[in-house]
Amino acid sequence: MTEQRSLTDAVIIGAGPVGLFAVFELGLLGLKAHVVDIQDKPGGQCAELYPEKPIYDIPALPIVTGGELVERLLKQAEPFAPVFHLGQMAEKLEKLDNGNWLMTTDLGQAIEAPVIVVAAGGGSFVPKRPPIAGIDDYEGTSVFYSVRKMESFRGKHLVIAGGGDSALDWTLNLQPVAASVTLVHRRPDFRAAPDSVAKMRALAEAGKITFTVAQITGLEGEGGRLSAVKLKSEAGEAVAPCDTLLPFYGLTMKLGPIADFGLNLTENHIAVDTEKFESSVPGIFAIGDINTYPGKLKLILSGFHEAALMAHQAFHYVHPDQKLRFQYTTTSTELHQRLHVA
C-alpha cells in the first residue's frame, strides 16, 4: 500500500465525460484538480460500455463515438494538467480541522482539497457477482473476482468462468502456475481476442486445460473452502472438482463507499440544488448521472452545464476572499493565458 498525500483545489471522483469537463471548467477559473477513478483509464461509461458506439446529442458534434469524446475532453482539459489517480476507488472522506476535505483511496492515496466533486455516474465499475446461493461464504477464500498475484494460485485447482478476454487471458496466464484449470463458458464461442481463443483451444486439445460448455448453478464445500462447482448444460448436470473459482462476467456499477459520505441520497442519487449543484454538505458537489434534482435528464450535456455552475461556486470555497469576475474565452487575456493560447 502506498501512502501519499497531496493538496489541491478540487478532488473529482470519476473520470467520465462530466468529470473531465469539470477539470476544464475549474481550470478556466484557475482551480487545479485531481481526478480519481476505479478504472485504469479515463472515460467512465464512454470508455467502458460504448467506446465504439456513436453519440448524436453532443452539441456541435453531429456524431462522435464514446472513445473519441473522451479523447477530445482529455485534450480540452490538458492545459490544466489534471493529476489522475486511476485504478483506485475513492474510499473515505473526512473533514479536517482547517475546513478542507481529505479524500483517501483504497490504495492509500490521500488528497486534501476544499472542494469535492462527485462525478461518479452510475457508481464504480465492479465485477459482477454471480447470483449463486452461498457464494458470499467463499468470497475472498475460494472465490476471487480479480487476480492480484498469480503466485497465490500456484498449485490450485481452478475453475475460471466467463467468455470474454478476462476469462481467456487468465486461463492462459494461470495454466502454467495452477495444478489444473477448467474453463466454464455457456457456449462454444467466445467474444475475445481470436488469438487467445486459439491458444485456449490448443491447450484444451493438448489436455492441459479442460474447456466445458456449461453454466455454474451451485457450489460445494465447507467453511469457506470450495471443493467443487455444480454445472448445468444441455448434456445435463455435472460436478467440476476445484478449490478456487474465478468468475469473470464483466462489470456492473455500484454506488460503493460514496453512499457512506454522509450526503442526502434519493434512490441512490445525490440530491443537489440547481444553482450550484451542491449536495446537502457544503463543499461537496455532485454533477452528471450521479445527481438528482427536479427535471433531471441523464444526458452528457446536462453534466457539462452542471460542471460550469459547480465551478463558479467551488471558486468561493477555494478563494473565500476573492471576487469572481465572469469572463469569456473569446476575449479574456487571463483565460487565454490559462489555456496556453496567449
Binding site: 457477482r129 447470483p131 466467463g162 467468455g163 453454466q215 456492473t252
Partner: protein, 104 residues
C-alpha cells in the same frame, strides 16, 4: 397493444406499448425491478428476460452483440433475450415474458 410480464416474485403485469418502443422501455416504465443499467445500448445484460417459447419465432433475430452480452448474464436459457434489443410492433401484441433473476 399489450405485453404480459411476470416479475421476479411471480406477479403478473399487463403493460401497454406503442409501436417502436423497445421491450426494455416497456418494462422499465413500470417499476418491475429491471435495472437496464446501460440504458439500452446492449452493454450490461441487466434487462435480461425469458420469452415465452411460443413467441420466440416472432422476435427479431439476435445480433452477435446480444449473444455476446448474454455471456455476462446469469441463468441464461435458450429463450433468454435482452429486452433492449426487441423493438415492439403490432405483431408482438400479447408477447409474454418473464423477468430474469437479478444479481448484486
Amino acid at each position: 397493444m399489450k405485453v404480459l410480464a411476470t416479475d421476479r416474485e411471480g406477479g403478473q403485469h399487463e403493460l401497454s406499448f406503442q409501436e417502436g418502443d423497445t421491450l426494455m422501455q416497456v418494462l422499465t416504465d413500470e417499476d418491475l425491478g429491471v435495472r437496464a443499467e446501460c440504458g439500452g445500448c446492449c452493454a450490461c445484460a441487466t434487462c435480461h428476460v425469458y420469452v415465452d417459447p411460443a413467441w420466440l419465432g416472432c422476435l427479431p433475430p439476435q445480433s452477435d452483440d446480444e449473444v455476446a452480452m448474454l455471456d455476462e448474464a446469469f441463468e441464461v436459457e435458450p429463450n433468454s433475450r435482452l429486452s433492449c434489443q426487441i423493438t415492439m410492433s403490432p405483431a408482438l401484441n400479447g408477447l409474454t415474458v418473464t423477468i430474469a433473476p437479478d444479481w448484486n
